[in-house]
């Protein structure tokens, strides 16, 4: 049902909405259906006149841009793939695993791990769109600063994370009856930690695209992440897992590990914020405030990481 609704939503937003927006409202109101509008039905070309539209402050414009970016991210093939994989993963796991629980599905990592990985590429694609299409010079004189454009992408990633969260919650409510499970129930911190991987993947992709605006950086960054993961997991010290594992609470029959889920969430959220600030500080403009913020976030992330134990 969820998949059907999502598919319908994608079709409407991708194919119908742009055509509706492109038509003048007056003409649309007279049309019985969304048929092509004959030229004769349109109003004559607008004369050159002073426009009624006026510039607004940066923050409302940033939110408007965030809405646009959110729509584009949610409708992108990459995010659609992330959603499909998340749903398929849940269905397959439920069908094939005898003692499937929400813990093993979501908090054990596979669902949001793949979504986070795909959203890393989605974030990179969104942030590198201007470079790839050559619109940099055209957009350069626009008043909305490149830093605020990065912030708009970060806000879009929050919505992407929220969508994955809703999917996981749906799985939680519909496919796993946690009252019959002997294991520990997940807290809200456990639940939130999983979709944060989506936000983290997306914002890391944005940061990398900003830092290294070159072709081939996205796959290189991916292999870099894998390499870091492999190196840390081979240290022989399981404590490192609190810092790099995509999920920290494997369900091995004994309930959640005793590490603090709230601190783990804080740790990951601070990493996301670091990625956003890291991307913004790279762009032209005054850096002192952002550097201070970045330093505070780094210290915060370090503190939150240690506070997990």
């Amino acid at each position: 049902m969820i998949v059907i609704v999502l598919v319908l939503l994608v079709v409407v937003l991708t194919y119908v909405r742009p055509r509706v927006l492109a038509q003048p409202p007056g003409v649309l109101a007279r049309l019985p259906m969304l048929a092509p509008v004959p030229a004769s039905a349109l109003t004559p070309p607008a004369p050159w006149r002073a426009t009624a539209v006026r510039a607004m402050p940066a923050w409302p414009a940033t939110l408007a841009l965030a809405r646009t970016e959110t729509r584009r991210v949610l409708l992108s093939p990459l995010f659609t793939a992330a959603v499909v994989i998340t749903v398929l993963n849940a269905v397959v796991m439920r069908a094939t695993t005898e003692f499937a629980t929400f813990n093993s599905f979501a908090l054990g990592g596979p669902a949001a791990f793949w979504a986070g990985l795909i959203c890393y590429f989605a974030g990179h694609a969104a942030a590198s769109r201007s470079r790839r299409s050559g619109t940099g010079e055209m957009f350069a004189p626009a008043p909305l600063s490149p830093r605020l454009r990065i912030l708009a992408l970060a806000l879009a990633s929050l919505v992407a994370g929220a969508v994955i969260f809703v999917l996981l919650l749906a799985g939680y409510l519909y496919w796993w009856d946690v009252r019959d499970i002997a294991f520990t129930r997940p807290t809200i911190w456990h639940l939130l930690s999983t979709p944060v991987q989506v936000v983290g993947g997306f914002t890391f992709g944005v940061m990398l695209a900003t830092w290294a605006p070159w072709r081939g950086v996205a796959p290189a960054g991916f292999f870099g992440l894998v390499a870091v993961h492999v190196i840390l997991s081979n240290t022989g010290n399981p404590a490192w897992g609190a810092f790099y594992e995509y999920a920290k609470w494997p369900d091995q029959g004994g309930g959640f590990e005793t590490l603090s889920a709230a601190w783990h969430l804080a740790y990951m959220a601070l990493l996301c914020a670091m990625a956003v600030v890291g991307a913004m500080v790279w762009l032209p403009g005054r850096r002192r405030g952002l550097l201070a913020l970045g330093a505070a976030l780094t210290l915060g992330a370090l503190g939150a990481g240690l506070a997990q134990f």
Binding site: A22, T135, E137
Partner: protein
């Protein structure tokens, strides 16, 4: 003056693109005319606040683009079409212009969408506004670029070769559009099309080797070649410039060849007469 440039210098490594450029432009349509590599695009990029000059002074709309607060205000009143505009291929024409409108911090969504429809109407793209950019022809994409530059009725419109790739009908419509904008605002455009300058511009600046070689009204540029344009049956090797025309005769610029007939000059003759170095190169 809306645009005031004084002693502008810009280099790319050892290559000096602008070498003491000085000129002024006010309301109306000012055309920058010059050969390839003359520095027109670099000048327009600086005026669009995309590039910073190495030296010299720039005043735009009463502000100094080197000052951050002034630069923001200038950008709010500026429309810019680069020479090689890129487009987000997956966007529709409407979505793309709407995206630029957001970057220009335009107000509430309904007013912004009305404004996007208006500028798409102005460039004759209403019927294809819901079509993806990747499916538009090169000329249509150019018009999408022009549309985004006209968003918000900007006080200063900077267009780098805006008529490149437009068909004759669209070029006429475009000239009419820019003329009407130029009645109230300042339009600055670069072009290789001398007929565009003659038909459209109230002022013209001839740019060569990073400097403004000449400025004035198009009629004065044409008059520079008065009494120096001839047509003859054979090419005269002594001519400053001679080239074969469609009817098999040879058009000469310079002193009168034997048996030649004096012609009324065009703006192209005036331009070529001015750029003697370029003329010599063409003649060779």
């Amino acid at each position: 003056m809306t645009v005031s440039v004084d002693g502008l210098v810009k280099s790319y490594g050892r290559k000096r693109a602008l070498d003491g450029m000085t000129f002024h432009a006010g309301p109306g349509v000012t055309g920058l005319l010059g050969p390839n590599g003359a520095g027109k695009t670099t000048l327009l990029r600086i005026l669009a606040t995309v590039l910073a000059p190495d030296a010299g002074r720039v005043s735009l709309l009463g502000g100094d683009p080197a000052v951050a607060a002034d630069r923001l205000e200038i950008r709010r009143r500026l429309g810019y079409l680069p020479q090689e505009p890129g487009f987000h291929q997956g966007f529709t024409a409407f979505e793309f212009v709407d995206y630029v409108a957001i970057l220009k911090q335009f107000g509430d969504r309904r007013a912004r969408h009305d404004e996007v429809r208006r500028v798409l109407d102005l460039v004759g793209l209403r019927d294809v506004s819901g079509t993806k950019v990747r499916r538009l022809s090169g000329g249509m994409r150019r018009r999408v670029g022009v549309a985004q530059a006209l968003l918000g009725d900007p006080d200063l419109v900077i267009l780098d070769e805006p008529t490149a790739g437009l068909d004759p009908e669209q070029r006429l419509r475009f000239r009419e559009l820019l003329s009407s904008i130029g009645e109230r605002h300042t339009v600055l455009l670069s072009t290789h099309q001398t007929e565009d300058v003659a038909a459209l511009c109230t002022n013209v600046v001839v740019v060569d080797a990073g400097r403004a070689r000449w400025s004035g009204v198009p009629r004065e540029l044409t008059e520079l070649a008065r009494g120096r344009v001839w047509v003859a049956a054979e090419r005269d090797p002594r001519a400053q410039l001679a080239y074969r025309t469609g009817d098999g005769t040879f058009r000469h610029l310079g002193d009168a060849p034997a048996g030649a007939t004096l012609l009324d000059p065009t703006i192209e003759d005036g331009y070529l007469s001015l750029l003697s170095a370029s003329v010599a190169e063409v003649a060779a």
